[in-house]
C-alpha cells in the first residue's frame, strides 16, 4: 500500500501556495467534459459539489436524506473556528495550527493542519458573503466565543445553530448550481459500493431508496463526503442514518482505513435514561464557557444538588487543570468525568452523570444574558429531561460524538485508490487523536470549498480517461453483488430485528472499546463481534421486499457493515499500545491517571488494508514527522 502523503516542498507557510502553482490545471472549456460523483451533501459534500460545479465540472451529488439540507452537519451547535484574530487576543494562523496539532495529541499531519489554519479565514468570508447570519456585536462586527483547548476567542457562531446556518449556506450554493443544470442532485439514494476500473475509482452503485432500483453512477472521479461512523456504538450524538457503509465499501475495494480507533467521546451529553434510548443528545461545548462542572466530594452523596454546600462540592476540572479549568479539551474532560463516576461520585439515578452548573454565571451575568447565549440549548435540555437548568444544574455524561479516524488521504485528499477523494469527517486527515471543538465544520468547509476544487483539477490534468459507462462489466458485477447481498438479508427470515443486533454491537463496543480500553477487553470484543455477526446473518428478520421503500432493509445493510467494520476498530485499538487523545489504554497512564503517549513507537498513522473476508487485515504505517511543533506532554494544568 503506497502511503506517500505527497506533502509539497518548501517552508510550511508556503507549501500550499507552492502546490497550487505546481498543480496541473484543466482548461475552462474542457472542465465540463469531466464528471465527478460526489456522495454526501453535508458541509464537505455540498461545498465541494457546488464549488466544482461553479468551476465548470459536471457533478452528480447523492445523499440518503430526502433533502440535501438535512445532512448531519445541520446538527452542529457550537461554532466554527478561524484565525481571524478579530478579538486582538493573540490569535494567528500559527496559533490555530499549533492548538490543533497539540489538541490532536501530536498524531496529525503538520502540513495538512497548517493548510487548514491558512484557509480558515476565507471560509468565514465566504459564508458571510452567502448570507450566513453569524452572531454580531452591537457595532455590527462579528462576535466570537471560546471553545475547549484554546485560550483565544476564535469561534464564530449563529446562536446554537451554527451547523444549520453553514449548511444552508452551502446548500444554497448547491441549489444555485442545480438550477443552473451543472449539478444533478439525487436525494434518497444510498451508495452501496464503489467501482474501481483499471485501478481507478470510476463510480458507485446506488440504491434508489424509494423504488429499490439498484443502478450504476459513473464518472471520472469519486468524492466521498459521507460523514463519520460513530453509530458503530449504536448510541451516539450522530443522526440515526449516519453509517460507515460508503467508507467501508471503499475500504473493501482497496482504500486504506486510517486510525479507526480514534473516536471522540464528547463530555457534555444528556445521560442515558433506559433501554429504549435511540440516540444521545449533545449539549454544546460552548456551555463550558459559563457552566462549572462538579460532583459531590463524598462518595454516594445522594442529596439534591442545590442542598450540597459549596465546601462539599468538587469542581474537579478547575482543581486538576487550573489554567484551562472547565475548558480543557474533550478527551480530558470526558475521562475526568468517567473517573469521578468510577469512584462512585457520579450523580442522578444511574450514578453515570456529573453536574454542569450555571448558578454562578446567572448570578454574575444575569439570567437574560445566559438566555441570550444558550436559550435554545436550555430549552432542549428542559424538553428532554423535564428539569429546568436555570434553577437546577444540568446532568451530563460523555457520549460518542465524532470519529477522527477515516479513510486515509494524501495532501490532495486522495485515498489509496486513485480517483477516490475523501472529504470531511469521512477522512482521517487533520485532527489526529482528538479533535478540538469547532474544528470539524472548519475542516469540512476547507476541504470542500478550498482544497478539492484545486486538487481534483490536478488529478484530471495528470491523467487520461477511457470513456466508460454503466454497461462496463465492473459496474454490472458490483450492482449484481449489491442486489444479492440485500436479497440475502431479506431471505434470512430469522427472529430478531436489526435494531436488536445493532444495540448488542453497541454494547460490546462501549464496554470494551469505549472511553477506556485494555488488552483483555479488546480481545474479548474480538471474540464477541464475529459471534454476533454470525448470529445476525443466521437470525435477522427483515420484513418486506427490496423493490420498495424498506426502512428495515436500509438499516440491515448498514448494521451488516458495522458488524464487520467494528472489528478493525478493535484491532486498531489493540495495536496502539499507548494512550493518545481519545484513545486511552489503561495499561498506558501516568500515576495521576493522565494519558501516556509513546512517541518513539507510535508516532504514526495506522492504515488498515483489506485482504479478503476470511483474512486478517494488514496494518501499514505512515510515519509522522514534526518540523514546527515539538511533541511534548500535552498539559492543560
Amino acid at each position: 500500500m503506497n502511503l506517500d502523503a505527497k506533502i509539497p516542498d518548501g517552508p510550511m507557510a508556503e507549501k500550499w501556495d507552492n502546490h497550487r502553482f505546481a498543480m496541473k490545471l484543466v482548461n475552462p472549456a474542457n472542465k465540463r467534459k469531466y464528471k465527478v460523483i460526489v456522495v454526501g451533501t453535508g458541509l464537505a459534500g455540498a461545498s465541494a459539489a457546488a464549488t466544482m460545479a461553479e468551476l465548470g465540472y459536471n457533478v452528480e451529488n447523492y445523499c440518503y436524506q430526502d433533502s440535501a439540507r438535512r445532512a448531519h452537519s445541520i446538527a452542529a451547535q457550537g461554532g466554527i473556528n478561524a484565525a481571524k484574530n478579530y478579538q486582538n487576543d493573540g490569535d494567528s494562523i500559527y496559533r490555530l495550527f499549533y492548538d490543533t496539532v497539540k489538541g490532536g495529541d501530536f498524531r496529525s499531519r503538520e502540513a495538512n493542519v497548517y493548510r487548514l489554519a491558512q484557509v480558515s479565514n476565507a471560509i468565514i468570508d465566504q459564508c458571510v458573503a452567502q448570507g450566513v447570519p453569524f452572531a454580531r456585536e452591537y457595532g455590527g462586527q462579528l462576535a466570537n466565543r471560546s471553545f475547549g483547548g484554546a485560550q483565544v476567542s476564535r469561534t464564530f457562531y449563529a446562536r446554537g445553530q451554527t451547523g444549520q446556518q453553514l449548511l444552508l449556506g452551502a446548500y444554497s450554493a448547491l441549489m444555485r448550481q442545480v438550477a443552473a443544470g451543472t449539478v444533478k442532485l439525487v436525494p434518497r439514494s444510498e451508495m452501496l459500493d464503489l467501482v474501481v476500473i483499471d485501478g481507478r475509482a470510476r463510480g458507485i452503485i446506488v440504491r434508489d431508496m424509494v423504488t429499490g432500483r439498484i443502478y450504476p453512477a459513473f464518472g471520472d472521479a469519486v468524492v466521498l463526503a459521507t460523514g463519520g461512523y460513530g453509530n458503530v456504538f449504536y448510541l451516539s450524538t450522530n443522526a440515526m442514518g449516519c453509517n460507515v457503509t460508503a467508507a467501508y465499501r471503499a475500504y473493501k475495494r482497496g482504500a486504506g482505513f486510517a486510525n479507526p480507533c480514534y473516536m471522540q467521546i464528547h463530555p457534555t451529553c444528556i445521560p442515558v435514561t433506559g433501554d429504549h434510548q435511540s440516540k444521545l443528545t449533545l449539549m454544546s461545548e460552548s456551555l463550558r464557557n459559563d457552566g462549572r462542572v462538579w460532583v459531590p466530594k463524598a462518595v454516594g452523596d445522594k442529596r439534591a444538588p442545590n442542598d450540597i454546600p459549596e465546601a462539599e462540592r468538587d469542581y474537579y476540572l478547575e482543581r486538576r487543570y487550573p489554567s484551562f479549568g472547565n475548558l480543557v479539551p474533550r478527551d480530558v474532560a470526558s475521562r475526568a468525568a468517567k473517573q469521578v463516576c468510577d469512584e462512585g461520585r457520579g450523580v442522578g439515578a444511574t450514578g453515570l452523570a456529573v453536574y454542569l452548573d450555571f448558578a454562578d454565571a446567572i448570578k454574575r451575568l444575569g439570567r437574560s444574558a445566559i438566555e441570550q447565549r444558550y436559550g435554545n440549548l436550555f430549552h432542549m435540555y428542559h424538553k428532554i429531561t423535564d428539569e429546568d437548568p436555570y434553577t437546577m444544574p444540568m446532568r451530563i455524561f460523555p457520549a460518542v460524538h465524532y470519529t477522527m479516524g477515516g479513510l486515509w488521504v494524501d495532501y490532495n485528499l486522495m485515498s489509496t485508490i486513485p480517483g477516490l477523494h475523501v472529504l470531511g469527517e469521512a477522512n482521517f486527515s487533520d485532527h489526529g487523536a482528538n479533535r478540538l471543538g469547532a474544528s470539524a465544520l472548519m475542516q469540512g468547509l476547507a476541504d470542500g470549498y478550498f482544497v478539492i476544487p484545486y486538487t481534483i483539477g490536478h488529478y484530471f490534468g495528470s491523467n487520461t480517461f477511457d470513456p466508460i459507462d454503466g454497461e462496463h462489466p465492473a459496474f454490472q458485477e458490483a450492482a449484481q453483488a449489491a442486489g444479492s447481498r440485500l436479497q440475502k438479508l431479506l431471505d434470512v427470515k430469522g427472529s430478531r430485528s436489526v435494531d436488536s443486533f445493532h444495540r448488542d454491537l453497541g454494547h460490546i463496543m462501549w464496554t470494551h472499546c469505549g472511553m477506556s480500553r485494555k488488552r483483555e477487553g479488546l480481545e474479548t470484543a474480538l471474540k464477541e463481534i464475529p459471534k454476533l455477526r454470525e448470529e445476525f446473518w443466521r437470525d435477522v428478520r427483515v420484513p418486506g421486499s427490496g423493490d420498495q421503500l424498506n426502512v428495515s432493509l436500509e438499516k440491515a445493510g448498514r448494521v451488516a457493515d458495522f458488524l464487520e467494520f467494528s472489528e478493525i476498530v478493535v484491532r486498531d485499538a489493540l495495536a496502539r499500545e499507548e494512550s493518545c487523545g481519545g484513545h486511552f489504554r489503561e495499561e498506558h497512564q501516568t500515576p495521576e491517571g493522565e494519558a501516556k503517549r509513546d512517541d518513539e513507537n507510535f508516532s504514526h498513522v495506522a492504515v488498515w488494508e483489506y485482504k479478503g473476508d476470511n483474512e486478517e487485515p494488514v496494518m501499514h504505517k505512515e510515519q509522522l514527522t514534526f518540523d514546527l511543533v515539538k511533541p511534548s506532554v500535552r498539559s492543560y494544568k
Binding site: T51, Q65, D66, S67, A68, R69, R70, H72, I74, A75, K84, Y86, A122, I124, Q126, V128, A129, Q130, G131, P133, F134, A135, R136, E137, G139, G140, Q141, L142, R159, Q161, Q164, Y171, S172, A173, M175, V178, A179, V210, A239, M240, G274, H276, Q277, S278, K279, T281, L282, H379, M380, K383, I384, Y449, F450, P453, S497, R541, P543, G544, Q548, L549
Partner: protein, 249 residues
Amino acid sequence: MHLTLHVWRQKSANDKGRLVQYEVDNISSDMSFLEMLDVFNESLIAKGEEPVAFDHDCREGICGACSLVINGIPHGPDEGTTVCQLHMRRFKDGDTIYIEPWRAKAFPVIRDLIVDRTAFDRIQQAGGFITINTGGAPDANALPIAKTEADLAMDAAACIGCGACVAACPNASAMLFVGAKVSQFLHLPQGHPERARRVKAMVEQMDAEGFGNCTNHYECMAACPKEIDVRVIAELNLEFMKAKISGRE
C-alpha cells in the same frame, strides 16, 4: 403505559392508504415520541409485519426530517417542538393517538408517514441563494451589519424546512417557508442586489408546485417548531409587491 394508535398505512404512492388501529404496551414517559414508535415497530417486526415508515434523522429538532401529524396537529401538542423532541410524558396511560402524514397536494405520500417534500428544494433552486462563487469574498468584517438586523435575519433563518407550516395551513400554503428565506436575505445587505428577482422567482415556483395562498389563518406560525413569526409573510408580500411595481429584474 398502554396506548391505542391509529396509524396511516400506505404501501406506496399509488396505494390508497388507510388508518389502522394498533395497541402498544410498555411505553415509558421518558421516551420520545419517536422512541415510542421504535418500540411499536419492534413489536410489529416481532409479529412478522412491516414496520411503519416515517422520516427522521437527527432526533434533536434541527434536521427537519420528522414530520408527523399527531391528533390533527403537525408535530403534536407541544409548542415550538418537533415531533422528535416531543416526549411521552405529554400523554397518559390509555390515550388514543392518531398519527398521520403531512397532507398537502404538493407533498404526495411516498409510503406510510413519509411524504415527498422536494417541492421545497425546487423553490430554493428558483432563488433561495445569494449569487456568489467560492473565493474572492471580501473580509467578513468589511461589511458591518447592525445586531438588530442580523438578529432578524437569524430569526428567519432558523426555519428547518420541515413543512409543518404547509401541513397546518387550511390552504396548504408555503408562505411561511418562502417568507423565511426572503426575510433572511432582506435583513442582510448581501441579499439586496437580487431581491426583486429572488422574490418573484420563488413565489412563481411556489405557485407552480401547487401550494395554496395565505388567507391569514396563522396556523403555520402555531405549528412551526422554530416559532417563525408571520411577520415574514408580511415581508414576503411587501417584497413581492415592490418587485412587481418596480418591474426590476
